[in-house]
């Protein structure tokens, strides 16, 4: 080659920030006896009835492609599920696309709407993929920083300040990863008013919608006039404990859904067939399993968050997901220092809040999707660590 390899690479890719989690992953993976509170997925194995349905589909030889949008039976179940659980109505034939995880759903949604230079508001602290996916789609991510003092609840004024003539969309995530914060109906309505006023589109990532513990959940498209400007993203990873199945979906008004389908059919053909058969079972008969898992998370949340507050790491009670996001500012350490020292000295792995955005600095993300025994041991170690500081 006459050119350095690097010069062949896309500038966008070269300029993407490496994920801040990577370094901690390598460190934690190289150590023995680590209790990891750094895992962003359920500690439950997928329920047996779902695994069994998938096995049956394989035994029966359902191993070919499905329709690009996914099995119609699954889309019908998704439509029924969205109606039953969240009171939003979508047409299974034209408004629902089955994807490879919520991850692909977000990517598709962004690629379907972004023209070069379009701005997309990303509410931080946020899931690490949003901003890079906006950039890869040719857009410009514009971050809005929510405030720990307000339990990381997005304030409508903050959105207004970030809006320019190039703003096209906003990515909303409630319950939030990493903060666990849930926006209630009133708060979503206030956001909806701004969205309406400035004619924006909302990509609503509701992957944790099943895991809401205190108040009834409101799905963003259930807010009046919002469905027409919402691309709803959801999936099976968190609520149904199906991360490895790589299955999610998009629900959106027909024109958005059909644009998304156009990309999906060229880039992916369809989501994995066997996973789709498992998902049909999850939606048909999974409600009790989800309820049991949710109960278990809620108890662990209550235990863990109270323990954090007692040891001096102040933490709001997160309304959803399975993350606690306590402040470590009182220790005088940065998030990275805290996480690194805690890992090296007490073998407890947490994720520094700073990897989720500027406003995550001074916080750490602890997943309480670990067994109660592990959580109790982690609490013991963290107390010991804090006592030494």
């Amino acid at each position: 080659m006459t050119r350095a390899t690097k010069t062949y690479l896309s500038e966008t890719v070269v300029n993407l920030k490496p994920s801040g989690i990577r370094r901690f992953f390598d460190l934690a993976a190289s150590m023995e006896g680590v209790i990891s509170l750094g895992v962003g997925e359920p500690d439950f194995v997928t329920s047996w009835s779902v695994r069994e349905a998938c096995i049956l589909s394989l035994e029966q030889g359902y191993t070919s492609y499905t329709a690009n949008a996914g099995l119609l039976e699954l889309r019908e179940e998704i439509a029924a599920y969205l109606s039953r659980r969240f009171h939003v109505e979508y047409a299974p034939e034209t408004e629902i696309i089955v994807t490879v995880g919520a991850s692909q759903a977000i990517d598709l949604a962004l690629r379907a709407i972004i023209n070069p230079g379009d701005e997309v508001i990303v509410v931080e602290p946020s899931f690490v993929s949003y901003a890079p996916l906006v950039s890869l789609a040719g857009g410009v991510p514009v971050s809005v920083q929510t405030d720990g003092k307000q339990e990381f609840k997005l304030q409508p004024e903050q959105i207004e300040k970030a809006i320019t003539s190039r703003t096209k969309a906003m990515i909303l995530c409630s319950p939030n990863n990493p903060t666990g914060t849930v926006l209630n109906r009133r708060e979503l309505e206030a956001i909806g008013a701004i969205v309406q006023k400035h004619d924006l589109i909302v990509i609503s990532d509701e992957i944790y919608a099943e895991l809401v513990y205190d108040e009834p959940y409101t799905s963003f498209p259930a807010i009046p006039h919002m469905q027409e400007r919402t691309i709803l993203v959801n999936g099976f990873s968190k609520g149904f404990a199906m991360t490895g199945w790589r299955l999610g979906f998009v629900a959106a008004p027909k024109e958005f859904a059909q644009a998304i389908l156009k990309i999906h059919q060229y880039a992916m053909m369809c989501a994995p067939t066997m996973a789709q058969y498992g998902a049909i079972e999850a939606l048909k008969n999974g409600d009790n399993d989800v309820e049991e898992m949710k109960k278990s998370y809620r108890r662990r949340r209550n235990y863990f968050v109270q323990s954090l507050n007692e040891m001096g790491l102040s933490c709001h009670l997160p309304g959803g997901a399975f993350y606690a996001f306590p402040s470590i500012k009182a220790t005088g350490l940065t998030s990275e220092q805290f996480a690194e020292q805690l890992l090296l000295e007490e073998k407890v792995a947490v994720v520094p809040g700073s990897v989720f955005g500027k406003s995550g600095e001074g916080y750490i993300r602890c997943s309480y999707a670990s067994s109660l025994e592990q959580l109790q041991e982690a609490v013991k170690r963290m107390k010991r660590f804090l006592a030494r500081l």
């Binding site: 994920s19 989690i21 901690f24 992953f25 934690a28 993976a29 680590v34 990891s36 750094g38 895992v39 962003g40 997925e41 500690d43 194995v45 899931f127 690490v128 993929s129 990863n177 109960k295 108890r299 662990r300 209550n302 235990y303 109270q306 323990s307 792995a349 994720v351 109660l372 109790q376």
Partner: protein
């Protein structure tokens, strides 16, 4: 009896793991330790919680592997007391671990534990079959316990997740 939501939660938590520290349970249900203790005491007094016991895999202990049998028993119910009288005569034997009245082909299902097959055979022939109202018995020996009271005995349930993910 009607339990409050919190009381019900405490029962559920204890039924899964009776050895959790009171402090942990209190935090899980967002109550004080004293309030939680009060709930537990009430549940015990009302015999909602009947007993705390360990689920033991006796096969692991040399010389204590033991034998369990399930016996289908057909009986003639007695006027006035139905099946209760004969059931009581049977469940009073300490080697009898459980007795259920069943619908279907037989009447009582009796689970019995003994040190050996011959010990159980002796119980059946001498104690059980000789009861006046017992018409017949069919004894099934348990060869292997896979799952007992919701607990899987040999569980390979190590955490398969990667240590850190977004």
């Amino acid at each position: 009896m009607k339990l409050t939501d919190k009381e019900l939660e405490v029962v559920e938590i204890l039924s899964k793991n009776a050895r959790l520290p009171l402090e942990t349970i209190a935090k899980m249900v967002s109550l004080s330790i004293e309030e939680t203790e009060q709930i537990v005491r009430k549940l015990e007094e009302e015999k909602v919680i009947v007993q705390y016991a360990a689920i033991v895999d006796w096969r692991k202990i040399d010389g204590h592997e033991g034998v369990t049998a399930m016996i289908d028993v057909k009986v003639t119910p007695k006027r006035g007391v139905g099946f209760d009288e004969v059931a009581e005569r049977i469940y009073r034997f300490p080697e009898v671990k459980s007795v259920y009245l069943m619908s279907g082909a037989y009447d009582l299902s009796v689970v019995i534990e003994g040190r050996s097959m011959s010990e159980i055979a002796k119980f059946v022939s001498e104690k059980l079959s000789t009861l006046d109202s017992v018409i017949s018995t069919t004894t099934h020996f348990i060869l292997k316990k896979y799952k007992h009271d919701g607990t899987v005995f040999e569980q390979g349930d190590q955490d398969k997740r990667i240590v850190m993910s977004p």
